[in-house]
Symmetry: C2
Subunit: 492 residues, 2 copies
Amino acid sequence: MKATSLLHLRNLLQFRTQCRGNNILSQEPSGPKMKTEIPVRGFFGPKSKQFMKKLEKTQNALSTIFVLDVEKSIGNYAVDVDGNILLDVYEQIASLPLGYNHPAIQKVFQDSKNLSQLVNRPALGVHPTPQFIKQIDQTLLRIAPKGLDYIQPMMCGSCSNENAFKAMCIWYANKYRNGKAFTDEELKSSMYNKPPGCPNISIMSFEGAFHGRTFGALSCTHSKPIHKIDIPSFDWPAAPFPRYKYPLEANERENTKEDEKCLARVEELFHEYKYKQKPVIGVVVEPIQSEGGDYHGSATFFQRLQKITKQNGAAFLIDEVQTGLGATGKFWAHEHFNLPETPDIVTFAKKFQTGGYFAKSEFQPKQPYRIFNTWMGEPAKLLVLDAVLKTVKQENLIENTRKTGDILLNGFKNISKQYSQLILNVRGQGTYCAFDMPNVLTRDKFINQMRNAGIQIGTCGDITVRFRPALIFTEKHAHIVLDKIIEVAKNF
Amino acid sequence: MKATSLLHLRNLLQFRTQCRGNNILSQEPSGPKMKTEIPVRGFFGPKSKQFMKKLEKTQNALSTIFVLDVEKSIGNYAVDVDGNILLDVYEQIASLPLGYNHPAIQKVFQDSKNLSQLVNRPALGVHPTPQFIKQIDQTLLRIAPKGLDYIQPMMCGSCSNENAFKAMCIWYANKYRNGKAFTDEELKSSMYNKPPGCPNISIMSFEGAFHGRTFGALSCTHSKPIHKIDIPSFDWPAAPFPRYKYPLEANERENTKEDEKCLARVEELFHEYKYKQKPVIGVVVEPIQSEGGDYHGSATFFQRLQKITKQNGAAFLIDEVQTGLGATGKFWAHEHFNLPETPDIVTFAKKFQTGGYFAKSEFQPKQPYRIFNTWMGEPAKLLVLDAVLKTVKQENLIENTRKTGDILLNGFKNISKQYSQLILNVRGQGTYCAFDMPNVLTRDKFINQMRNAGIQIGTCGDITVRFRPALIFTEKHAHIVLDKIIEVAKNF
């Protein structure tokens, strides 16, 4: 496409935005529309292929699905450089809260009074700005899980978890140090990575968990060997996470046993690692194991896990990097569990467009420079988050997610009845839905055929299809997805 | 200040920008100007204090120096919320390349054709955009150290180092696996953090080094105990880094011995860790140890270090997070060393406004998802970087840094002659300068008095004063700094 026609299209889009205000849905195409053929691996039209050839000169580009046209993509629809229009229920690995080119986010960048905040990225740990201090109070504090009033902005999911882990370690040491000063031996040994300064303590995570890919986060990640192989790791324990039988209502007894088995192993690991003199000082868990295969745990499981963790003197960290910000039908997914008390720390990233964590104030280190880095987050991203949160509130998007999620989930259940050999273990909360397929080849073939039908979906685990639409995904979009699944399943 | 007068000031600034084009220096105040009194710890005028009280409700704010007015700050001058105007030679911990509110960066956000790239943050690993692919080629590849044509954008300095460490581990395993597939034992053990899947290998770093604060990066950081204490760490070796006597020309023999001592220990540690069955697979080093105390190594030291590293089959990673992008008088600080060959990997962040690394193509994993995360960098930041690099080129800012650096360094040397009990060990390259003071109390008192005189400087190590001005810092600014140092030294 020539530059002039691209310019024309952009002007048209801007014009439409101006005319129709915030109603982004009215700017969407009426449905997906495919132009080019899609090979089995990935999704390359001729223009995507050309771009990929360039990218492959400098990068491993094997994970690429297609080259995105960010200018033409709109609302729930991703457009690729070949002009294919896809209804996107994966949304940049669950990281876009309001779909593409949302007017509320556009306004953040168009408003000249935001310019100096966009242009000057400060080192917030030494030079906070009045606007940032206001953002902490009026943007972040308002969404804080109850009682978690220590707020630490960060950059991405991995560094949010890494720093939350550090906060747990510091909290634990502080508790056992009982107000005493660091000893000389601690100070000296720490400089050479040795105990007692760098203590032999551990963080418990779960088989199938995903918490990021930096060395600390990766030591708590157990989703796929390719993420971990060849990388040194901390000897930290991994407990089993429930693997339920579906439908839940027909498998209550067995699933309760599954909870018990997992929790018994959690208790064992607390003891084993205490005995090994590498005590577990914190437990990190996703409310729904996502990258690992969309595995859910019951409210009872989480309630008891929190209790066991507390009994063992450890901190309880819930990683809401993927689940946070409304997609499950509640703002935080852990709100579904009716926990006896708020978790100690909750991490976030992805849809928030920036990372960070909320914690109980006892997790705030008493000394400066212990949780610290150059940027400590970014005010520009908090401007975007503020616009997102206001839109979510104004447009009742969490309620929308609950309603649309019901349609999606019930639809999957009905299709699963008809195609019971193909679509298995339907599960979900809000639009945060998934089902399994019989094996990896079938799953990958299905995903490819869905792309050919104009639906961009994600995968997780070995055999799972995961849905992560934006919060502006409505009943109409849900029906398009359901119809296309039936169409593909029919001819499979 | 009322909203209307703030608005007026902003409009005035914008008007001045429009009138005077890119010449930001003409918009600067004529010099620093202080309004409020500064207590010894930190820098709080009454308005800064008010803001800090708010921030302290949710954060540990003990590292705060002052609350920054990003709207009024301009060029080399930081303005605080109390109206104090400081000549800033620390620049947000060395992270602002062009000072405050530079028109070239403002234009990035004002240009409506950038809007969709600013609004839609893609998951670049699965959906790169044409603009991003162009940025890789025309922005990043152009500054790549010779021969390093594998480019991996990241988010910040820590995650750049963490992922570069991973790339070294994968490269090493690949070399010894010799094209064979992963074994079942490797795959299975990796899921539980155990060898052989998660191997017992190590990365060598240096005493006094700083490479970040996430668990992997922190295991290579040895600058201050407060960064490391209470956090579990990998048992990885730390070698001594040269501690030279100044002036260099008068201490050649002793400093050569210092190099030899350090390099001998590097060789020993390679052997020790091989014997321990935790072989060193990579060495990570800063061209100038910055956070640790602005310690320089000679070209010979770095040449021989690279040679020893290669002889031991390990990878050689230079961390240019703080030194990269021109401040030392060359684009990359390691260009000063005339290394026999390019380092294997070079990491960057800070002034680049985003993170990442350049590597030899053999450090590119063959499989997807090994070096991966949701965002994999950010196109919006690369737009800013592109504007910065163009300005650096157009305005010969690296040459400027060389010239201004000479004035600064020679000035410090002269002052050091006059105040030889106060200002010690003057050293630097370009404007990347430092000197020591007799002890920490004197240093902190000096920094505070300099702030009172309107100069914002940084510290590092225990007794060091570090200068990290922006690249637009000129001869005029250097003389203001030198004059103020003399003024403070006189009355000390």
